[in-house]
């Protein structure tokens, strides 16, 4: 059930340079959120920016939920100015989250940069439901952009780090680091990050016979199924299934259904 709710901001603190975590009080949204779902935040009361900002829900607990975001433009810059005690209108939870997959031996979470956002809540759910304590691969440009390392460790997850510049963990791209983890047919890989990273993780999973569930990002107007603005191309033959909405059919997809050669929905 999706709600349209004025939520009180409990904190909005920096977690890395240009990265924030906003914790909001909104009981109905917190209660109904499944791991991998997202919400639409109104960044300001005015008309510029006009649209809400889609954000993965990081975690939800009791009457509160959190989002992780990177300051990239005017909307997120305005969100970063919001103070504890302020009110933000939130629409959510939205979309279809990660299907929890019992019957797999290994569960590997792969987060690239801010793409880590929906994964802490997923790790908690996998542990809570006694499915697995997932292995986590965190990838980022450099050490100071690695997010949530301690959060995963405190859940008991093993965490492998990889950075583009080698300032922490392996100096490698996510897919290369994942290969070292030797995923197999009984492995499910949950991935969220830049399209190029997810495409390479998808290809590796096809090689190793692993199931790959990818959480996609797209520019959105409505965030809730009506505008058809956030579509991605699929591998389906039928014309009516060739384009799927990230907001409604996703944001989490079986990676085999996405046409990774089509180009990014976010430019």
């Amino acid at each position: 059930m999706t709600h349209l709710l004025d939520c009180t901001v409990l904190s909005n603190a920096e977690v890395a340079p240009e990265h924030r975590r906003m914790i909001l009080r909104g009981e109905a949204i917190a209660r109904d959120t499944q791991p991998g779902q997202f919400c639409m935040l109104e960044s300001n009361p005015g008309l510029i920016p006009f649209l809400r900002r889609p954000m993965s829900i990081e975690r939800s607990e009791e009457d509160r939920f959190s989002v992780l975001y990177k300051i990239v433009g005017e909307g997120t810059r305005l969100l970063s100015k919001i103070q504890p005690g302020d009110t933000v209108n939130v629409q959510g939870p939205l979309g279809k989250g990660f299907p929890i997959q019992p019957g797999y031996e290994r569960h590997i979470l792969v987060g690239g940069g801010i793409g880590i956002a929906p994964l802490p809540g997923l790790a908690e759910a996998l542990i809570r439901q006694n499915i697995a304590t997932p292995e986590v691969l965190l990838a980022a440009r450099s050490r100071d952009m690695l997010l949530c390392e301690e959060d995963f460790k405190s859940l008991g997850c093993s965490v492998l780090l990889t950075t583009d510049d080698g300032s922490a963990g392996m100096k490698a791209f996510a897919a290369d680091a994942l290969r070292e983890m030797k995923p197999h047919e009984k492995t499910v890989v949950y991935v969220c990050g830049p399209m190029i990273m997810m495409a390479t993780v998808h290809r590796l999973c096809m090689e190793t016979g692993s199931l790959c569930l990818a959480s996609l990002e797209a520019h959105m107007a409505c965030g809730d199924s009506v505008c058809m603005g956030c579509v991605v191309e699929t591998t389906f033959e039928e014309e009516f299934r060739r384009m799927v909405r990230v907001c409604h059919d996703g944001p989490v997809f079986d990676s085999r259904h996405i046409n990774w050669n089509a180009g990014a929905p976010v430019s």
């Binding site: 059930m1 006009f50 649209l51 520019h219 809730d224 058809m228 603005g229 956030c230 929905p265």
Partner: protein, 310 residues
């Protein structure tokens, strides 16, 4: 103040209030019934229907701009069969008044769509979209040629669709013309019961880092509060020369915006992109119209239509 009448008659369609939604911003009408009772609206206007399902354009399809957005969706829709079978029963069950927006690649396709909708009870009024800017290849020329850009074509299309249906027929026009009165008069001459205006304004947004257009389709249609003054002026232009009513739209996001359109001569209004920001925007505007009438001592909203003082 329960004795305020918001009822209007839009070219033969009685609406309990003058507010509908703009085609393409509200899906097939039922999606948002969990945010509010969509039957509270004067009418629900559904996404453009074509004879066959359409996958639409490649992404990215939207790009945000100051106080609005560009879109190049390309009329992705389920097609009339699925609409009639799966969407319509839900709309009827909710007791919605339905305006069905249709898109064809020839006058005959429009006529066939209108005929089928009437025969199968699929609509209470037809809005023929002669003005979608996004279904042609923009690379082919400086911009796509729209039926709505040629008054002769508007008159011809309208006549052919008119002969296929007795439902109230609205012709949706494009603002991408020098003089909106010409296609508006052509629609009237062709037998339309109302004109709907404006569709989106053609626009372009460029990513200066990549030097690429923000939309895969290169250009798209601009909507949102940014276009409202253009839309109000075009409604005002058209309403003064027409004897048929105008369904006004373009950037309406508040009750005051809607009242501007009524004062400029619109009989009813459609709320578009504002729904993306607030899913219940159209309902809030219905409520705001009632409050405005109460405040101004108006007992019938029709008193506002064309009541501009100048």
């Amino acid at each position: 103040m329960t004795d305020i009448s918001l009822k209007v008659n839009l070219g033969g369609l009685v609406m309990k209030n003058p507010v509908t939604v703009a085609s393409g911003t509200f899906g097939y009408g039922i999606e948002y019934d969990h945010y509010f009772k969509v039957s509270e609206l004067g009418a629900v206007t559904v996404k453009s229907l074509s004879l066959k399902p359409r996958p639409g354009n490649k992404p990215p399809r939207i790009s945000e701009t100051p106080a609005g957005l560009l879109n190049a969706i390309g009329l992705q829709n389920v097609g009339i069969e699925v609409y009639l079978k799966e969407k319509l029963p839900l709309l009827r069950e909710k007791n919605c008044t339905i305006i069905a927006n249709i898109y064809g690649f020839s006058p005959e396709e429009y006529a066939e769509l209108a005929q089928r909708l009437e025969k199968e009870g699929g609509a209470d009024a037809i809005e023929a979209n002669l003005s979608c800017p996004n279904v042609h290849d923009a690379k082919a020329s400086c911009g796509p040629a729209l039926v709505a850009q040629s008054p002769e074509s508007v008159a011809e299309y309208t006549r052919i669709i008119r002969s296929a249906t007795s439902l109230p027929l609205y012709i949706k026009l494009s603002p991408n013309v020098a003089d909106i009165r010409e296609p508006a008069l052509a629609a009237q001459e062709g037998g339309a019961d109302a004109v709907a205006l404006i569709n989106t304004l053609l626009g372009m947004n460029i990513d200066v880092e990549t030097r690429r257009p923000c939309l895969r389709n290169l250009v798209g249609g601009l909507s949102g509060p940014a276009i409202r003054p253009v839309a109000v002026k075009m409604v005002w232009d058209a309403a003064r020369v027409l004897s048929i009513p105008v369904l006004g739209m373009g950037g309406i996001s508040s009750p005051e915006d809607a009242i501007q359109f009524l004062l400029a001569g619109a009989t009813a209004v459609a709320v578009g992109s504002a729904t993306f920001r607030r899913p219940d925007a159209a309902l809030q505007i219905v409520k705001g119209l009632h409050d405005y009438c109460a405040r101004q001592g108006i007992d019938d909203i029709r008193q506002l239509i064309g009541a501009l003082e100048s």
